[in-house]
């Protein structure tokens, strides 16, 4: 650990929250130091105040109510909290670079890439347009972007999420800052892209001897990139130390709980009593969308798979791989272009709305975004009972069934009369499950049910799924982008890539020795706890 004079020194930092929040201070009494060339990770769940620290250093805290009320931040021999806005402005971009979480909205949509990077040079140095253009081209090449001369004059919407993140890094590091702050830069990216970005940041940091303050909620990322790590819980720094020590021998109980909740990726060797006949069978299902511009996009290209009663089939793939489309086609929400979907031997894809009526209750779905899956204007009770009322079940009986289901998913009966906004993300997902079970389905489709939740909450919901599928002997179609979750939950796994089924087999076999190159790349990209920071 390089012991030179620390680049960044934070002592006893407090940051206030607007009145009426769930706690008075977002962050209280935080102290940390960061030396040149060192990478410090701040990890914690949403709402732990980790981003606040990063924004406090950069002087970007939002509005009058959220501001540092105590403590000192020393950087480059200066006391940042005493600096005026214009003094801070000269530091930002020149001595401290910062990159953010959402690449899709972090760039000005109507300004060329070249100008958005050139801006950094022109704001701090007085250089001519020609020289500035050359330096931008160099910066673009430096972050590994293909064909910089074409890219410099194009607009952000033409670039992918990963490319835009590289542009952000190029802008942040344009003037060789001493400190780079990265606020969850890879959270919104696919697993494979995330791996490349992390590799890039680590390489640039090592080459330039830069200090790196990395904010994340994913311990796998911590293992990949951090020299030292600090764990935050509700504004308090509960633990800090070298990454290896904290990961292998977490001292604080909260850290232990967090690490334990991470899907371990070990396949469970449970052998569910599976009925011989296939409950659901997809046969050469294809689905093509016609875009307004006239172009046609093939979401599914001849996918075939089977699912038996009591079995859980995992469908894994990155965004745009077509995994969600399968879920929507099975439930009949989206019509398919060709092929067959056999449910108990009958091709339900050819049935009209009337034909689907008897199947209404038998196939149900749990959605990804807890905040969108429940109608904010309806009470939880009505959300659960509507399906039953539609089937003609009397009101009283439906209400009793709802209470029963709520207790099954671990919520009290009083939840019936409350509105969705009164529940947390995890609780809402439980209600979503209760609603899906209300109709006593045989097949349950879960479309990324936990990816929007914090790690700890994720674990509880996954347990609930496990408990429910056993109790009702459900067939479960589990759609996720997280291989670790798939490995832990599913009996068999199907890997999707650009609408095609590239790998399909027993979970243990697919995880241990994947046959298809893409699956291997996917597995390699998943951040592992074991890998020590080299």
């Amino acid at each position: 650990m390089p012991a030179s004079d620390p680049v960044l020194q934070i002592d006893g930092l407090d940051i206030s929250l607007p009145p009426g929040g769930d706690r008075p201070l977002a962050v209280s009494g935080v102290s940390l130091t960061l030396a040149a060339g060192e990478a410090l990770c701040i990890v914690g769940e949403s709402g732990s105040g980790k981003s606040m620290i990063a924004n406090a250093v950069m002087g970007l805290l939002p509005g009058p109510h959220v501001r540092p009320t105590a403590g000192r931040i020393r950087f480059d021999g200066q006391e940042l909290l005493d600096l005026s806005e214009s003094q801070m402005q000269t530091l930002r971009g020149r001595r401290i670079g910062m990159i953010f979480q959402e690449p899709m909205t972090a760039l000005n949509p109507i300004m060329r890439i070249g100008d958005q990077i050139g801006e950094v040079y022109r704001s701090h140095l007085s250089i001519g347009r020609k020289e500035c253009r050359e330096r931008v081209l160099a910066a673009l090449a430096d972050v590994g972007l293909p064909d910089p001369t074409r890219l410099i004059d194009s607009y952000p919407f033409r670039l992918s999420g990963g490319q835009r993140q590289r542009v952000m890094i190029a802008a942040a590091l344009a003037l060789e800052p001493a400190l780079l702050i990265a606020d969850e830069p890879t959270t919104a990216l696919d697993v494979t892209t995330q791996a490349q970005i992390l590799k890039l940041i680590r390489a640039l940091q090592r080459r330039r001897g830069m200090a790196l303050l990395f904010i994340t909620h994913d311990f796998g990322v911590v293992a990949e990139i951090a020299d030292r790590v600090a764990v935050m819980q509700r504004g308090i720094m509960v633990e800090a130390g070298p990454a290896r020590d904290v990961l292998d021998r977490p001292a604080h109980v909260y850290t232990q709980k967090l690490i334990a909740a991470i899907p371990h990726g070990q396949t469970s060797d449970r052998a569910p009593a599976m009925a011989p006949a296939a409950l659901l069978e997809l046969d050469q299902v294809t689905k093509t969308y016609r875009l307004p511009g006239g172009r046609e996009v093939a979401a599914l290209k001849g996918v075939s798979l089977t699912l038996r009663k009591g079995e859980t089939l995992g469908i894994v793939g990155e965004s745009g791989s077509g995994k969600s489309t399968i879920g929507r086609c099975v439930t009949g929400l989206t019509p398919i272009s060709s092929g067959r979907i056999l449910f108990e031997g009958i091709d339900i894809s050819k049935l009209g709305p009337k034909g689907l009526k008897p199947y209404r209750g038998r196939i149900q779905m749990v959605f990804q975004d807890p905040y969108a899956s429940l109608n904010p204007r309806h009470r939880v009770g009505s959300a659960i009972t509507t399906g039953m009322l539609m089937q003609g079940i009397p009101k009283a009986k439906a209400r009793d069934r709802a209470v029963e289901l709520l207790s099954l998913v671990g919520l009290g009966a009083e939840a019936l009369d409350r509105y969705p906004h009164e529940f947390s993300g995890g609780q809402r997902q439980r209600i979503g499950i209760a609603r899906a079970l209300a109709m006593e389905p045989e097949l349950l489709v879960a479309d990324e049910p936990v990816s929007a939740l914090d790690v700890s909450v994720q674990a509880q919901v996954l347990d609930l799924f496990d408990q429910v599928r056993k109790k009702f002997d459900l067939a479960l179609l589990f759609i996720t982008h997280d291989l670790r979750v798939a490995a832990q939950m599913c009996d068999r796994v199907a890997v999707m890539r650009a609408g095609e089924l590239v790998e399909y087999g027993e979970a243990a076999q697919v995880l241990r020795d994947p046959r298809h190159a893409y699956t291997q790349e996917l597995i390699a990209a998943v951040p592992r706890l074991e890998r020590a920071a080299s």
Partner: protein
């Protein structure tokens, strides 16, 4: 989709819209009681049935409705808008006489309202919460909520009658011997009150809209990125925020411009400004069908034109939008 094909398609859509408007209005105005022959006969003080029948025959109103429509559309296709019954002159000429007055009034009002509206909106959005901001917002709300004709009347009452600084009526002083420059000055003097009154109403809309739009854009992520890059506040405000904030304003301005040309009826009535709005109102009361339809066609054409210009302008300003 290159520009030419886009222009052709929009033109076709525009023509269909115009055709629809003409046909709908053709029947709509004939639903009104009375017809031009009766009005003319009444004026001539010779209202016996024979005279009215003679006029109807002269105007071609005795033919069946469908035939009249066919005839009219035939003429319009050859850009001949027919004759005004009441004034025995070609409709195109009558409208032509009024267009300069309307363009002068609505043009001046449009520029004034856009200029002041956006500057005030941007200025107050930069000072959210200060007394300056609440002053601008309240004044804008008041002008938005006031009946336009009443503001016009009060303007005449104060500036023309009580203070006598500005003429309150008409477009030029009657019977004044002017040189070209003198004449222009005289018209300009007459233009001040109506243009400012009309502009106040739209300035209020633009100011409120710009302020809301500026505040929304300033909360977006790329503004935070710009600050993180150490870009000076002034440049962020001018380049990043203002340009993005102006996108919705362009759409609104395009719609308002189109509507304005045809509709400054109230301002024209209070200030006796010889514009298209009043011509339309008079033609309506006189049941001067051809003249009324001609005005509707002209105003609709202006709306279609301005919508087209707005779309083209939009694709230039916002690269994400292509010409579909």
């Amino acid at each position: 989709m290159n520009r030419a094909r886009f222009a052709a398609r929009r033109l076709a859509q525009g023509l269909v819209a115009l055709l629809l408007i003409v046909v709908v209005n053709f029947f709509l105005i004939r639903a009104a009681p009375g017809d031009p022959a009766q009005v003319m006969a009444g004026e001539a003080g010779a209202g016996d049935a024979k005279f009215v029948a003679q006029l109807r025959q002269q105007f071609g109103l005795d033919k069946p409705m469908i035939e009249q429509l066919g005839l009219y559309l035939g003429h319009v296709a050859m850009l001949d808008l027919g004759q005004s019954y009441r004034q025995q002159r070609p409709v195109a000429e009558l409208i032509g006489e009024r267009v300069p007055a309307t363009l002068l009034l609505t043009g001046a009002a449009f520029v004034l309202s856009l200029l002041f509206g956006i500057t005030l909106g941007a200025w107050s959005s930069a000072r959210v919460g200060t007394w300056g901001d609440s002053l601008v917002t309240t004044v804008a709300l008041i002008f938005y909520a006031t009946p336009l004709f009443w503001v016009a009347l009060m303007a005449v009452l104060v500036f023309s009658i009580k203070l006598d600084w500005l003429p309150g009526f008409g477009m030029a002083t009657v019977g004044q011997d002017f040189s070209a420059l003198g004449h222009a000055l005289d018209v300009a003097q007459h233009l001040v009150l109506p243009a400012v009154t009309l502009a106040l109403f739209y300035m209020a809309i633009y100011a409120r809209m710009t302020r809301t739009s500026m505040l929304e854009v300033s909360r977006m992520d790329f503004v935070k990125t710009a600050r993180a890059k150490g870009v000076p506040r002034g440049r962020i405000w001018r380049v990043h925020i203002l340009r993005n904030a102006l996108l919705p304003i362009i759409t609104l301005a395009g719609i308002q411009a189109g509507q304005m040309v045809g509709g400054a009826i109230l301002t024209e009535t209070v200030f006796a400004w010889p514009g298209i709005g009043r011509l339309m109102f008079e033609a309506l009361l006189q049941r001067d069908y051809n003249l009324l339809l001609g005005v509707f066609l002209f105003t609709a054409a202006m709306v279609v034109l301005f919508n087209f210009l707005t779309d083209v302008l939009y694709t230039i300003v916002d690269p994400r939008i292509e010409l579909r």
